[in-house]
């Protein structure tokens, strides 16, 4: 019996071994190699010779990306990426939820509609991007829709706009962070007071006071990331990209939510009904809370797609349109067009860290939820 168990385990290890080895080399080995390259200056003249001269330069590529004069584009890329992620994830969830709720209440045609809404997902982002590029041409496409009913053609510039809203000064990012901390601490302190938790209230209050002191003395304004002010903000041109991405992925969130709605036991609905709840109340107080885990999964799945987006924007706006550019595009161009391989590796590493910030907590909580796996 004991011998047999061991043989089972041996088989199991043998079966898993190839994929472990492949992962070790092709994922984790390459991540390590990319990080190593990002600490060098690979990308000087003769970067592509057989024996390129590569020197260790520490974190200076990273410092340069966040504070160097010429990397203004990378900083706008980061801003764009954050704005795009928030809008894309938020709008996809909202659209998907609305669609799912509507489809769920249909008496007929559900299968057809579900397929229709899910279809865009079967396209690649390059196809979506090309089609929407045409649709969003300022002289044609959807700007011409109003003329069908006799109105003037739309004038919105979609992808070509250079307007920015919600502008902020990159140099003052630490200041904004302190102000945000102040606001958070104040709110938490207030909440603790209301709940009569004195110790918490005191701790948050102290944090708020410290943040207020830093702001009041002007200290936080002196911690500048750049020696000059540099405006970044939400590019209006991103709306076009968000529209295309939401069109493609909201069917997917709909499918997720629809599956979630199906898992709500009928007994719960009936119990609520018996207690006198209206259809709307059942939806609000029974069904929506039970969709929370689905929402979290959807945020993680859509979030990591949004943070790494490349092909959609490359197809829609081309490589060099700064108002819609994201770090992944700059990484590609720096590496393969500009021959600055170390800088490309640094951008890649930053992207990896940002995506991990989103995914690792999710994976950890999932793992804990399962009771830590086999043990």
């Amino acid at each position: 019996m004991r011998f047999r168990l061991k043989r089972d385990e041996l088989y199991a290890v043998l079966v898993i071994l190839p994929s472990i080895l492949l992962l070790a080399v092709f994922v984790y080995g390459f991540i390590a190699q990319t990080f190593r390259v990002s600490l060098t200056d690979w990308g000087q003249t003769a970067a592509l010779s057989l024996q390129p001269e590569i020197n260790y330069v520490g974190l200076s590529n990273y410092a340069d990306l966040f504070g160097g004069f010429l990397n203004i584009r990378f900083r706008q890329d980061l801003t764009n990426m954050v704005m795009f992620t928030v809008l894309f994830v938020g709008l996809s969830l909202a659209t998907g939820l609305v669609l799912a709720s509507l489809v769920d209440n249909l008496i007929w045609g559900e299968t057809v509609l579900r397929t229709v809404f899910l279809y865009p997902m079967s396209l690649s982002f390059v196809v979506t991007g090309t089609v929407w590029r045409w649709l969003l041409q300022p002289r044609g496409g959807i700007n011409l829709l109003p003329t069908l009913v006799g109105l003037r053609a739309g004038q919105f510039l979609w992808l070509s706009s250079r307007d920015q809203q919600l502008t902020f000064d990159w140099a003052l990012l630490p200041h904004y962070a302190v102000v945000a901390l102040l606001a958070l601490a104040a709110v938490m302190a207030g909440a603790a007071v209301l709940r009569r938790r004195r110790r918490q209230a005191a701790a948050w209050g102290a944090a708020a006071a410290m943040a207020a002191a830093v702001v009041a003395t002007g200290l936080s304004r002196r911690w500048q990331l750049l020696p000059y002010s540099e405006a970044h903000g939400f590019s209006t041109a991103l709306w076009g990209v968000v529209l295309a991405a939401v069109w493609q992925m909201s069917g997917y969130t709909m499918a997720l939510y629809l599956a979630g709605l199906r898992t709500v036991p009928d007994e719960l609905r009936e119990a609520a009904y018996v207690d006198g709840a209206s259809r709307l109340q059942i939806y609000r107080h029974v069904e929506l809370p039970m969709l929370m885990p689905i929402t979290v999964s959807a945020i993680v799945i859509l979030g990591h797609i949004a943070l790494k987006i490349f092909d959609l924007i490359f197809a829609m706006a081309g490589p060099d349109h700064a108002p819609t550019s994201v770090p992944a595009i700059t990484m590609f161009l720096k590496t393969f067009r500009g021959n600055q391989l170390a800088v490309g590796a640094a951008i890649g590493t930053i992207l990896l860290v940002i995506v991990s910030l989103l995914i690792v907590p999710y994976v950890v909580t999932q793992y804990r939820g399962d009771g830590g796996g086999r043990a």
Binding site: L50, L70, S160, D320
Partner: protein, 419 residues
Amino acid sequence: MTRSMMVKLAALALILALACVPAGAAVSGNLEIFSWWAGDEGPALEALIAKYEATYPAARVINSTVTGGAGVNAKAVLKTRMLGGDPPDTFQVHAGQELIGTWVVAGRMEDLTFLYEEEGWMNVFPAGLLKLLSTDEGIWSVPVNIHRSNVLWYVPENLNKWGVKVPATWQEFLEIAPTLQAKGVVPLSLGENWTATHLWECVAVAAMGPEKWDQLWAGKLSWKSPEVIEAWKLFGEVIKYTNADAPSLSWQQATDMVVQGQAAFNVMGDWAAGYMATTLKLEPGVGFGWAASPGTNGVFVMLSDSFGLPVGCPNRENAIAWLKMLGSREAQDIFNPLKGSISARIDSDMSLYNKYLQSAAADWRTNVIAGSLAHGVVANERFMNDFATVMEIFLQTGNAEAAANAAEAVAIQSGVITR
């Protein structure tokens, strides 16, 4: 014809035949050609391959094409292959610094001076072109075509209708532009980012002249000098009269605006002539007209596709045979009428070309030759990549000094200035 002459001719023919046969027989096996020529440009490459295979029946050509992104995708694949130690036998590359700054400084290319000397190309390619193809260490590629970057396109009939003349200088353009705008016509159509860089080089060459332009790339003129700042300011004035939706348009769509009468002028390389003549079936000189872009009369801002010889390519002899063929008058005259460009040689057969190309070829033989920035002749790839950011800074802020400072920083970082 005397008998002795007949004999001599027969002997010559025999010698030629003997000289050709072993050459043809010696070349066998594969030849891999790497390029981004497909679509409209595909047939021109196919014609060259057909000629090569007809000359060397024992050879087989592997046509490796990576399309898309105006060559960006192909260059990414090429770089991966070269770094991985798997070079193609020969590859398409923009002649000049795009080749030199990436591959020659890396020691990945063979010097082709021997080929130029054997084939007598030193005398059939203009000296200005040879200078741009070479460094002190050698000549690095064989140009198959020449395109002109500084061309202003218009529709003659439309200009008559609007009562404007072709501007000879940017000042003249700025004078007539408000008139055109008042008539609801976009004075100058523009497309996505790289076409802005393309326009910038035409404006800059006009503002500073070809000598200063050369000095800029030789590192002898500062990017912060008054001449360059003037060029940025003039460029800023000019783009005020362009269409607001420029970033959404391809160069073809910008050309379409002129053809359809929505815009008066467009500055684009002469592949636009190929587009209008072949794709839109317009007659050169009637359906569309052209002039050197304002302020650049007598200057030919050139760019060229070329092929080089990578160190360690698997079929070196075949690649050399291919390069020899590319440089020949016959091959150039097969390729270029199809591609819509002119022969790099000054002895091409003009009767094979259309009216536009004939005028370009005439200019090619007489004009001052300058190298294009937007198409890789004068600046290395790192500079070009970061210059796209400089252009975005300028388009966003409109600040000439900021753009000049940024360009100076790029020039220092990319080694253009210390070169």
